[in-house]
């Protein structure tokens, strides 16, 4: 009761202060009196934002990991060009066409691909992406007047373009938006830490690291109904709806990579594996019945580390690439 009385007193005091206009006074108080670095004046904000848009010209083969406006102008016929886009794991890429001057009838093209495709291998794979391959290409020459802003489904995207006439080109603006539950990710760096969460979604998610790495899974939670195993655990994870698998290979497509290990029971602790492949993928398969989560760390595998064995490690699969 005393606490309720105190609450009522506080409420009355706040009400009286508000009615006097004390709160309005706080809003207009000069920033320089107390916290000069927290509140910037409008002029300072304007100066800070002026010229903040990053601009540069694109090369024929290029990669972008920052927002900005990018222009490609052909100085000679450029027939085989592509630009890769990559963001942080929790970001999506948005590409806006600001200006396009290409001759579609003359054989030029400008296409956005939702993902990365390298030597015919796609990331995410066809099994993990909601769209069929043909719909992952958005051709400006076919739909440029309709769709001038394109957003990726994951943290990577790329454009392919061909321009015959010198002087022709295009300008695009690249922005990034937040993805609350990243699913398919390519890591920008050979080392890092990530937690993948699939909350009641029937989907498969892959985290790709295009380096030889040591990967350490520290926490795996695969929800099972009422905490009980409905099926008797058998050799491997066959028949289990939710599991995590480690893949290694020399291409980009996880569906074409070699399975190295699979985990279908929750655990806390660390399980470490050295994978000397060009590409390492941690893939989570989720039935949608549970909330599944896996936390892992990884760092680049060097030759000395490949020779030394540690506890809780599994024999490296691929030979270390030099």
């Amino acid at each position: 009761m005393p606490s309720a009385f105190q609450f009522q007193c506080h409420f009355i005091l706040i009400f009286l202060a508000a009615s006097k206009g004390e709160t309005r006074y706080l809003e207009v108080r000069d920033a320089g009196e107390d916290e000069p670095f927290l509140l910037l004046s409008e002029d300072l904000k304007r100066e800070l934002s002026a010229g903040q848009i990053y601009r540069r010209s694109l090369r024929c083969i290029d990669m972008l990991s920052i927002e900005g406006q990018f222009t490609f102008t052909a100085d000679q016929p450029q027939l085989h060009c592509a630009t890769f886009f990559i963001g942080e794991p929790e970001e999506l890429i948005t590409i806006d066409y600001d200006f396009v001057n290409i001759d579609c009838q003359g054989g030029d093209f400008l296409k956005v691909f939702d993902g990365w495709i390298l030597k015919g291998e796609k990331f995410p794979s066809s099994l993990d992406h909601p769209l069929p391959t043909s719909q992952r290409y958005i051709d400006f020459c076919e739909s440029g007047n309709i769709q001038r802003s394109i957003r990726s489904s994951q943290n990577v995207a790329m454009i392919f373009f061909r321009i015959h006439q010198p002087g022709n080109g295009f300008t695009i603006t690249v922005k990034k938006t937040t993805n609350l539950f990243p699913c398919n990710v390519i890591s920008q760096t050979p080392s890092g830490r990530f937690t993948m969460v699939i909350p009641h979604q029937h989907r498969n998610c892959s985290f790709s690291i295009i380096y030889p790495v040591v990967i350490k899974i520290s926490d795996l939670i695969l929800g099972h109904l009422n905490g009980l195993f409905l099926k008797k655990p058998s050799a491997g994870c066959a028949g289990v709806g939710d599991f995590v698998e480690l893949l290694g290979g020399t291409g980009l497509d996880p569906s074409k990579m070699f399975p190295l290990a699979d985990l279908c029971h929750s655990f806390h602790g660390s399980a470490q594996m050295k994978i000397g492949c060009d590409n390492t993928v941690l893939r989570m398969v989720s039935s949608g019945k549970h909330i599944n989560r896996v936390t892992f760390e990884y760092h680049q595998l060097d030759l000395q580390e490949a020779e030394n064995r540690k506890e809780n490690s599994i024999e490296e699969f691929c030979f270390p690439s030099i």
Partner: protein
């Protein structure tokens, strides 16, 4: 006793003898309407014999056409960015023609009614879409080594841009 013997002999004969309908299909896509009902059986035949490396007709989607595009000579859309050749698949144009034709036969045909030009336009669009889906997907032949190089360049650019933004912020705050 005789009947199982006859049945097994018949199966062996059919398996070993060359298939007339299949040859007809490989030469002329429109010549064998019977192939509509035969593709699964043809697959089994091919698997039993010592065969050319034909991709099995398991999927009808774009994934399948991706492989077809690589069976031929280097596809138009494949850009070699590295000096080494990356095309190491055998050229098998007749097989790809057959399989492409077989897929066309097997895909559900749009319903036709007599006379309407709009129906014709819809059919034309469906054919165009099919042709586009048949084209090999555009891809870049870049090695992982080069990919890592450009990735590290992009990363360096990002760090430089972040450092520039931080410096500008400190200059503004310091005024």
């Amino acid at each position: 006793m005789k009947i199982p013997l006859l049945v097994s002999t018949g199966i062996l004969l059919v398996a070993l003898l060359p298939c007339q309908e299949c040859r007809a299909l490989s030469k002329s896509p429109a010549a064998a309407p019977g192939a509509l009902h035969q593709p699964d059986f043809f697959q089994q035949q091919q698997q039993q014999q010592q065969q050319q490396t034909l991709p099995v007709l398991l999927r009808m989607g774009e994934e399948y056409f991706l492989r077809l595009g690589n069976l031929n000579k280097r596809p138009v859309g494949s850009f070699p960015a590295s000096s080494s050749s990356t095309s190491h698949l055998q050229p098998e144009a007749p097989a790809s023609n057959f399989l492409r034709a077989a897929v066309q036969e097997l895909q559900p045909l749009p319903e036709r009614s007599l006379g309407s030009p709009e129906e014709g336009e819809a059919e034309g669009e469906a054919v165009e879409r099919e042709k586009r889906s048949e084209e090999p997907p555009i891809s870049l032949d870049l090695t992982f080594h080069l990919l890592r190089e450009v990735l590290e360049m992009a990363r360096a650019e990002q760090l430089a841009q972040q450092a520039h933004s931080n410096r500008k912020l400190m200059e503004i705050i310091g005024k």
